[in-house]
């Protein structure tokens, strides 16, 4: 009955798979949980900000109004201006008894204003509060204009200050390395260790064809890939729910974007199986499969550098797992999903053909 070899693989490897699943769960749930802290680190919470109020003009050259809460013991007020929140080299913008000032916005960069209360001649001024002309800035905005990043995002305007952008870049952008390399490792060792540990002879003393053997191994890998994807979906969904950010994603966006990675992982598994058949050694097979994954990544990266290099993208499997399309545009590309699935099938058929002609070494 088909499935016994696959079942045995799952049965003997369940502990390792469980540990890896736990790791994936922690990462998938943990990364969204980092988002609020990350966002807040960009939006600076300055001391006494609630006591100082800044009204900005709509246009350049308009008037800025800065007001602050009065302090009973104050004899006068002093406003300092700097382009750094540390106020190391400030200019004195105002000194007087008013609690509100107006001045022209004749600059473009971000500026900080510290309002101090002068109590008496013998005491140092007391800080009432600091404020700034901009609330926060996304350090990745400039970086995302880089062709290498723009190639990945498809030129989409993605903000790291939004949970969608953060998750797309910080989770999806790196998750392939964790899951893809695990699948590469497992697929190679599933076959090559049977060669190295001389298990093939006993296996093929049973009425099992080489085609069935490889199909069962591939089935085991597909089940493992599905398990990992489901863990990712569960982890990411719970992580987003814990920060109340799930509603920022359209329905099924998390599910579909990660399901899209299933044939991506199956292609890696098929390459791992093919190289294991070819090399019959765990280390060699793993080296080749890891090199394949990274080469595909670099092809996709270089493909974004210029129009003339775009062909590189088309031969990279990364092009066909477009999670940005699902997360940002709400579009699941069924064609890409089918292309990767077909590629995995073709690779497995090729591996079967090679294996049917190869000697099993003693």
């Amino acid at each position: 009955m088909f499935g016994r070899i696959a079942f045995m693989e799952l049965r003997t490897g369940w502990k390792g798979l469980l540990i890896f699943g736990l790791l994936v769960l922690i990462v998938s749930a943990g990364i969204p949980m980092i988002f609020p802290t990350y966002r807040d680190s960009l939006i600076e919470e300055m001391e006494g900000a609630s006591k100082v109020h800044l009204e900005l003009p709509d246009e350049q050259g308009g008037m800025i109004t800065l007001s602050w809460e009065p302090l009973e013991t104050a004899t006068s007020y002093m406003v300092l201006e700097d382009n750094r929140s540390s106020m190391v080299t400030p200019n004195i913008k105002y000194m007087g008894n008013e609690t509100s000032i107006t001045f022209e916005k004749d600059f473009e960069e971000k500026r900080y204003y510290a309002v101090m209360a002068v109590l008496d001649e013998t005491s140092d001024p007391v800080l009432i509060g600091i404020t700034a002309t901009e609330k926060g800035e996304d350090p990745f905005q400039e970086l995302l204009k880089n062709p290498a990043y723009a190639g990945f995002t498809g030129g989409r305007n993605i903000s790291m200050l939004e949970v969608k952008g953060f998750v797309a870049l910080e989770y999806y952008g790196w998750a392939w390395m964790l899951t893809g390399l695990f699948i590469a490792y497992l697929s190679v060792s599933l076959i090559a260790s049977d060669f190295e540990n001389k298990r093939m002879d006993v296996m093929f003393s049973a009425p099992i064809s080489r085609r069935r053997y490889l199909l069962e191994k591939f089935t085991a890998m597909s089940v493992i890939a599905l398990f990992i994807v489901l863990v990712q979906i569960a982890g990411l969904t719970s992580g987003l729910a814990s920060i109340n950010a799930l509603n920022e994603f359209s329905a099924n966006a998390v599910l579909l974007s990660l399901i899209g990675s299933l044939p991506f992982l199956m292609v890696i598994a098929a390459v791992g199986i093919a190289t294991a058949i070819f090399s019959q050694k765990v280390r060699t097979g793993m080296g080749i499969t890891f090199a394949f994954v990274f080469a595909e990544f670099f092809l996709y990266t270089f493909g974004g550098f210029s129009k003339s290099l775009e062909w590189m993208k088309t031969i990279s499997i990364f092009k066909y797992w477009d999670y940005f399309s699902v997360i940002i545009d709400d579009l699941f590309k069924t064609g890409d999903f089918l292309i990767l699935t077909l590629l995995a099938i073709v690779l497995i058929i090729a591996a079967i053909r090679v294996f049917q002609k190869k000697d099993i070494p003693t």
Binding site: R199, V202, F204, S205, A206, P207
Partner: protein, 322 residues
């Protein structure tokens, strides 16, 4: 030292021991297997009949494992044909394995599972649901089924291999060097093989343990440097090789006193007389009794000695040719 006479052992693919009217379990015709420029097996032809235990003898690297693994389509043939129960070894490999149990010479087990689970898994791959024979074999070989596969000693691992090759009750059992058990277990293993034969099973086993082959085999094929040297009934071979008489006398003696018909070899070694006797044992003993004897030993000529002798002769011939 006197040279042995020719016992009539064929240097070609010797078919003399084979009956032509018996049904064939394995038929190998002109099998050649090359590993690049290295010869694994060359132009080998051999038939194993249904219901017999055929020994396949040869030193390491002679081509025994290559021949067996070609039979089971684990490796491709360079030339020649192999049929097992009339099925083509490579085209019908899966169908053949449904009728064949196989013990590889060197094999690994799936780690960290109980022997019982592992054997049940193999049974399921063979489409066999009954564990009766598995349990019986394990009991006879004193194999602990509740041990983990990665905790087994070399001998116990071999027992697992033996059990898995026999438990599915196939018509043909192919074993690649099934030695390595302790003497008691080895005897039990031979008894199991003889019982399998009684039940009409065919056994084809390679070995370089000649005592093993003598113990259980009906016929033996000897292979050397990838080529079949001889195929013979064990009994005929033993009769041909005769018995060896070693006598130590108190006084000097003349070897001419012991020249009788049926004595193929007479040798004197440090005051000992060594005779190879095929017939006329009575006359030889009477001649020996004319002297004062210090020590005497009469034994069956070991196949091992024959084996060693044969190769020694081959080496001499080759050096002579060169």
């Amino acid at each position: 030292m006197q040279k042995y006479e020719n016992y009539g052992i064929s240097e070609n693919t010797g078919r003399r021991g084979e009956a032509t009217n018996q049904e064939k379990a394995i038929e190998i015709n002109n099998l050649t297997k090359m590993y690049g420029n290295h010869v694994g097996v060359k132009d080998l032809s051999l038939t194993v009949h249904k219901g017999e235990i055929m020994g396949f003898l040869g030193p390491n690297g002679a081509g025994k494992t290559t021949t067996i693994r070609c039979c089971l389509a684990l490796i491709a043939k360079t030339a020649g044909e192999i049929t097992i129960f009339g099925l083509d070894s490579h085209r019908d490999a899966v169908a053949i394995r449904k009728k064949t149990g196989y013990l590889p010479g060197d094999f690994g087990l799936i780690p960290s599972v109980k022997v019982r689970s592992y054997l049940k898994y193999l049974l399921s791959l063979n489409g066999c649901s009954s564990t009766k024979k598995m349990l019986s074999l394990a009991e006879r070989l004193q194999l602990d089924l509740d041990r983990k596969t990665n905790e087994l000693s070399k001998g116990n691992k071999l027992k697992v291999g033996i059990v898995q090759s026999l438990m599915t009750d196939e018509d043909l059992i192919i074993m690649d060097e099934p030695s390595g058990l302790d003497p008691l277990m080895q005897q039990e293993f031979y008894r199991i093989l003889r019982q399998e034969k009684k039940h009409g099973k065919t056994v084809f086993m390679s070995s370089h343990n000649l005592a093993e082959v003598e113990s259980v085999c009906d016929r033996v094929a000897i292979i050397r440097k990838g080529q079949l040297v001889v195929v013979e009934d064990i009994q005929v071979l033993q009769e041909k090789t005769g018995k060896v008489l070693e006598v130590e006398f108190r006084d000097p003696f003349n070897i001419n006193e012991f020249k009788f018909d049926g004595v193929s070899s007479i040798r004197q070694d440090n005051g000992r007389l060594i005779l190879t006797i095929h017939e006329n044992l009575d006359n030889v003993i009477k001649a020996v009794s004319n002297h004062q004897i210090l020590n005497m030993n009469l034994k069956t000529y070991s196949l091992e000695q024959l084996f060693l002798k044969y190769y020694a002769e081959e080496e001499v011939d080759e050096r002579g040719d060169a």
